[in-house]
Every structure is written in C-alpha cells, then in structure tokens.
Amino acid sequence: MIENKVLHVADVQKNFAGLRALSDIDLTITEGKTHAIIGPNGAGKSTLLNVVVGRIIPDEGAVVFDGTVITGKKPYEINQLGIARVFQTPEIFNDLTLLQNVMVPAYAKRDGPLRLNVLTALDSDTDIRLAAEEILEDVGLADKRHADASAMSRGDKRRLELAMCLVQRPKLLLLDEPTAGMSRLDTNRTIDLLKKIKAGGMTKVIIEHDMHVVFSLADMVTVLAGGRIIAQGTPEEVRRDPKVQEAYLGGAH
C-alpha cells in the first residue's frame, strides 16, 4: 500500500529570542490517519501547529501540504487549501450567535477568501444554514444555536470551535487540546465525534495531554520534547518507550 502523505514538515527550525522552540522537526502525516502529537508543556507542540497554519514563519525548513509548499503563505490562504485548526484557547466570534459562528466559516469555504456577497439575504441561504445546523447538532449544541457565543461555558466554546472547523470539511484538521477542560462525558462524546469524522476520511493532527483520548484516537504518535522529536510510532510503541515515559508520561503510566 502506498501511503499518501498529506502534510510534510521538512526540517523546520524556530527560535524565539534565543530559545530554541523547534529544531530539526521532520514529520509526515499520512492521509486519512489521526496523528497525535504529545509532549511536555512547552515542548513546542502549539508552535509546530502555528508553523503549519502560517501564524509563525519558521526560521528554516518548509511545510508542504498536498504537494504545495505553504511556508510563507498567509493563514487565510492556507485555510483555503484545506487546513482548519482548533486553538488551545478557543478562538470564536463572541458577539455572534452559535449559528452565525458556524455560518461564517461555511461561507468562507463556499465563497473563497474574498467575496462581497451582498445580494443574498442571510436567511434565504438555506444550504449554508442547514449545513451549519447539522454540524451544531453533531457537536451537541443545536439547542443553543441562537444564543451568543460569549455566554457559553468553556467546554461548549471548544465544541463550537470544533464545529466551526468541521463545517469547512477540511482535508486536514489540526486540533490543539480539543478536550481540555471537558468533562469525561463530553470528552467521550468528542472522541466519538472525532471517530466518526475519521470514518469520513479526514486527516487529523491532534495535540492532547489526555492519554485516554490519544490512545482512543491516534494511529500514530509523535513525541516532542524541548523542541525535538524524541520518539515516533504507534501508540503502543510510544507508550513503552522509556524516553517518553521519563520525559512525559511520568511514573504513573
């Protein structure tokens, strides 16, 4: 079987004022798989995602997505190519309703990075609206769709953000701690949801500290520490790696 790589992070380096946040990161993500990135706090996991989505331009190296080099592209261009991201602290539209929160990315996906869509009336656009409602249903927020996003609890905000990404049906979904702060119940629901998407063939990169989530979802795990990849492999391989146990998992696991 020829594995198709969707994303290739090639020899990426990033320094922050003397601090080496990422060094020699070389990583490939296979299509349709769920790839977990774990590692201690400050290992550079979020920074790595920032490099992928164009928030941070690496000092060296390149990121190749679907055969195109995306380093140096603007975040919106990268999203348009099919990469969506859930942030570690939810980035949502606080002043809009949940429904509108999901409709905005849906429009962005349909209309491209710039379309002055003044002639359609929001409400007559049933396609977008139905799609948005469906996703909200999936993440379990349908009954709150007319409430303002600012009034959500943090768990709900996370799910909302996930919905905003899912509605775009991205080729690659990047999740930065999607279940942090979620109750076990909601975590389980999210795991189920992500499994369902996996069935749909979407490629996912997931950063998580909750090993339960990692081991339920991941096909492949990369362990970062101090800005370097210290281990890589299937969940089982990684779990048994003594380096990983020392640097990350600690004695209890």
């Binding site: 989505v53 603007k74 975040p75 919106y76 261009e77 999203n79 348009q80 969506a84 991201r85 942030f87 980035e91 949502i92 539209f93 606080n94 002043d95 809009l96 309703t97 509108q100 409709m103 905005v104 990315p105 429009y107 962005a108 996906k109 209309d111 491209g112 990075p113 710039l114 379309r115 002055l116 869509n117 003044v118 002639l119 359609t120 009336a121 929001l122 409400d123 007559s124 656009d125 977008i128 007319h146 303002d148 905003m164 775009q168």
Partner: protein, 368 residues
Amino acid sequence: MAPLWPPRRDILMTVIFGIVVFTMPIWLQPFGAAYPDLMQRFAIYGIFAIGFNILFGLTGYLSFGHAAFLGVGSYTAVWSFKLLSLNIIPAIICSTLMAGVFAVVIGYVSLRRSGIYFSILTLAFAQMCYNLAYSVLTPITNGETGLRVLRDDPRIIDAMFGSTTVAVPRAEIFGIAITGMTGFWACAVCLMIAFYVALRITRSPFGMMLRGIKSNQTRMSYVGVNTRPYTLVAFIISGMYAGLAGGLLAIVDPLAGAERMQWTASGEVVLMTILGGAGTLLGPFVGAVIIKYFENIFSSLGDATLADAFSFLPPSVEHVVVTIVSPFVGEGWHLTLGVLFMIVVIFLPGGLVEGFRRIGRLFRSKER
C-alpha cells in the same frame, strides 16, 4: 443577537422608515423643527451616520476622519455645478464617486493598522485634507470663504443645452429648483435608498463577515477569510455614504467650506452613531437627528422664548425655572448636549435605540 430576519421585513422596515421620514414636515411641527434647512440636515447627517455605522458598527474600525469624505463630496458637488451642470444628478454621482476614490486611498493605507492606530491614521489624513483645503489648496477650495457657485461658471453640460446665464445659480433637477422643501424631498429620497442599502448589507453574508471581523480577526483569517479587502470595501462604502451626504449638503446649499472636514466634524458623526446606538440600523439616524436638533433649536432658544414656554407657571416659579433652564439653551446648548451624552452613556449603554429596547423589554416583563 436577534434571530435572523426574513427578507420581506427588510422592505417593510424601509417602507415604515420612509413614511416616518417623509412625514417629518408634519410631525416635527410641534418641535419647531419643520423648516427645510433643519430637515435637510436630519436627512443628510442621517445618511452620513448610517454610512459611518457600516464601517464602525459592523467591523468595529473607528474612523476619526470620515469628515474628509464629507468635505470631498461637497467640493466635488460644487465643482460639478461649476463645470458640468446645475443638475443635481451629475453632482450626486460625482461626489459619491470622488469620495469613493479618496476612501480607496485612505482606506488602503489606514487599514494596515487596527484599533487606535487606525483611528489616528484616519484622523491624520482628514486633518491633512482639512489643513490643505484651508491653505495651499485654496485655488480648488476657495479656502476659508468656501467654494461657491458663481453666475459666470462654465457649466459645459448646461452650455450644450442652451444658455448658462441664470439670475442666481441654484441646484436643480430638470428645471425644478432645489430650494426649501424640494431640497428636503431630494435628501429624503436619498436617505431611503441609503437606508435600504445599509439594511441589505447588514443582513447579507457580507455583513455577517464584517461582524465576524469585528468579533475576532484571528479566527477570521483561520477560517480562510482575507480580512483586509472586506474592511476596505466597508471603508469605501461608508466613505461613499459620506461623499453622498457631502454632495447633498452642497446641493441644498451650494457652498463647500473646509470646516466640514475638520476633526470636530468627524467626531460629530462618531458621537451621533454611538449616541443613537452603534451597530443598530436606526440608531445612527436617531443620533444624527438629536444632535442636529440640539445644535439648531436649542442654540436658538433665548430667555424670552423660555419665559414664553413657562408662562403658564406662576411668575415666581417661572422665574426660578427659567433661571435654571437658561444656562442649558441658547449659547449654552453645548452644555445640554454634554449632559445628554453622559446620561445616555451612563444609563443607556449601547445608545438610545438599545436603551429604548431595554426599557421596552423591562415594561413587557413587568406586565407578565
């Protein structure tokens, strides 16, 4: 956020709005404001504020230099009267377009920054326009006296259709002179169109994108939206509204002065919008009406008028009341305005319209 509205209500809302506007000469009578000059101002500044709200209310970018577009619109309209024709149609078109051109340039540069930095950039551009219009651009603007329409202007379009010599040059539309009430009707028609367009923008996906930008720019770029062109378009639209308003100012009174570009004028539209309620559709118009009402009516009330108004009271009481009230009218009308600003912001955050809504809700919930 209210649930999404069905579009039929857009038309209905515009019609109701139109009725309110067109009946102003009737219902403003008791307020002493039913004379053409003031009603024209209501409509014109209403357009200005509604347009400003498209930028500020939707995207959250607070421009402190919108008066520049008002001024550009006015100068362009007067030049159109001077060079092309006394007909208002070319004047309106030219002033709106010219303001649009200025908005492209100023917006393109200013929108590279956000927040207060954006505000100061727009302010700086407008102040440059103002200061230059006042000084070295005098050949174009006629400096402090203001640009006027003269009897011997060329008016090439009019010249093609016959003589350009008129007793007194006045704006007209196909032979109907734009003075007094005709001037108001012309402004009212423009106001309705402007209102409807603003309504459509607000309720369109484009409008929602703008609100998304206001709410969270970061998220916006990570869902694949290039925010800069969106804000630029909003900036241009609102600049064109200002240009239209400026053009209308010159149409109802063909003199364009540099003062209307000064920062105070830019500040005024900000105040109108916030006072009425930024982000609401009616708010900016309400704010414009109130400020212009104070400026024109309160400032002209004298002690004599007050004494008249309170003459139903016993003389001693009347005296006391007049003494208390008089610092707030006439020369002191600014004081009233200042107090009004403070009261509104302190007690009705979100502006008058939002305040009314809240009070309405309060009553409704009490009934229940």
